[in-house]
């Protein structure tokens, strides 16, 4: 007989055992290091190639570094971990699989485009709540050059970017979720359904993802019986300026209040001066903003309760080339300091 004491409503699971972010580490590239939140990240790289021959190797190395330093911060070794849940943007998630190779922990590869990190964190919560693990490592990395090559164009190609274009964040983040320590705890996770409202413009992912964020937020509030005002901060991962605008419109149309608490990681990670379109994207965006910016706020008590919503555009270069629309997803996790 299925025990459902861990479920709430349609799409939410509860973590009554209070799994926590025990230790973590964030690394960002030079561009992000020039942004307004530079001080929130633990390490800023001077060279985004890390002396590697290919950007794929650099991305992998960044992820390995983040994992190594996150474990060191918690005085843990790979042996102390039960699961390693990770994913990234590259085909067949090779950044994560290759990093898992050096990790030596049972590996669960996941993919949710830019929502991957919250998917991983949510799953870690589930594993801990269900008594299937005592420590779970979650991590991700992304890199501007690898994403451009795979999804878009050769770096030196003549392309005139528009205002809705987003810029993949170069960065990596890792965290160990367990019941130890006094880090912020995960209280709820609302896993999203795939939402597709027919958007086809690959140069405006923000507008494509906004409906998914809207759906998940709506469901989360319904399932938990909360309002937006119950959160001190609501951080979307990388809707960007355009996507955030569309999310607000959708929320306003359904008379939600408390929109002043909404912030977007992608829109904030770069400054206007850096001329980076609608903002940052990539799996690392929500990861570094959550483990850097948000975590700092929770740890210092500046905020008590936050909702993070990571969104992902689940297209591929093939689906886009074949004229398909962009299905999107959003996962939400509630954190309490």
């Amino acid at each position: 007989m299925a025990r459902l004491e861990n479920r709430l409503g349609k799409q939410t699971v509860t973590f009554t055992s209070r799994p926590r972010i025990h230790c973590s580490y964030t690394i960002v590239g030079p561009s992000e290091g020039n942004g307004p939140h530079a001080l929130e990240f633990q390490e800023i790289l001077q060279d985004d190639m890390l002396h590697q021959k290919t950007p794929e190797q650099a991305e992998r190395l960044m992820l390995e570094m983040a994992i190594e330093k996150a474990l060191a911060a918690g005085q843990l070794k790979a042996d102390d971990l039960h699961f390693f849940v990770a994913g990234d943007l590259l085909n067949q998630i090779i950044t994560s699989t290759f990093a898992a190779r050096s990790c030596g922990v049972p590996f669960l590869g996941v993919y949710g485009a830019c929502s991957t990190f919250l998917e991983a964190m949510g799953l870690a919560g589930v594993l801990l709540q269900g008594g299937f693990a005592t420590r779970v490592l979650v991590a991700t990395a992304s890199h501007y050059q690898t994403a451009e090559r795979q999804f878009r164009y050769p770096l030196e190609l003549n392309v005139q970017h528009t205002e809705t274009n987003q810029h993949t964040v170069t960065g990596a983040a890792a965290a160990v979720i367990s019941h130890e320590g006094d880090g912020p705890s995960l209280t709820h996770a609302t896993f999203g359904t795939v939402v597709d409202w027919g958007m086809k413009n690959v140069f405006d992912m923000g507008s494509a993802m906004a409906p998914a964020a809207f759906n998940t937020i709506k469901q989360h509030l319904e399932d938990t019986g909360r309002n937006l005002e119950d959160y001190d901060l609501i951080l979307t991962g990388d809707l960007g300026r355009q996507g955030s605008k569309m999310l607000r419109i959708l929320l306003q149309k359904e008379n939600y209040t408390g929109l002043d608490r909404l912030e977007d990681g992608g829109a904030q990670i770069y400054s206007h001066r850096q001329k980076i379109g609608a903002g940052g994207s990539g799996t690392a965006c929500v990861a570094v903003m959550t483990l850097g910016y948000l975590l700092n706020k929770l740890k210092t008590g500046r905020i008590r309760r936050a909702l993070v919503i990571a969104t992902g555009a689940l297209l591929s270069t093939v689906s886009a080339a074949q004229g398909e629309s962009i299905p999107c997803i959003a996962h939400a996790i509630s954190l309490e300091g």
């Binding site: 985004d48 501007y144 050059q145 050769p154 770096l155 030196e156 005139q160």
Partner: protein
């Protein structure tokens, strides 16, 4: 004077392409293909030659000129060789540029890394 005409003609073609890019859903690739085909067509109906006499590089440099050069080469070689010429002529004028692009691009790839 010829310089001014080349500048203005070439500029106008590019400006028109830009407006199409900004107001329609067409991508750069669509416009470039359309231009190359247009160049081929204009050469066939005899409008390209006078246009190039007038605009000089303003007609040749935009990818329009590439399309026209293919047609022109094909016709010239067809006249000389018959049926085969229709095919060999494709690269009569453009061959120099195409081969050069491969050679120099490969050399560049050897010497330079892409940067952000």
């Amino acid at each position: 004077m010829q310089y001014l005409i080349a500048f203005v003609t070439g500029g106008l073609i590019c400006a028109l392409a830009q407006i199409i890019l900004d107001t329609t859903n067409l991508k750069a690739a669509h416009i470039l293909v359309a231009l190359v085909c247009l160049g081929a067509l204009l050469n066939g109906v005899g409008l390209y030659e006078p246009f190039q006499k007038f605009a000089g590089a303003g007609a040749l440099v935009p990818v329009l000129g590439f399309g026209s050069s293919i047609t022109k080469g094909m016709l010239a070689e067809a006249e000389r060789l018959g049926w085969e010429g229709l095919f060999t002529g494709a690269f009569e004028i453009t061959g120099l540029g195409l081969a050069a692009s491969v050679v120099f691009s490969s050399l560049t790839a050897l010497l330079r890394q892409p940067k952000k």
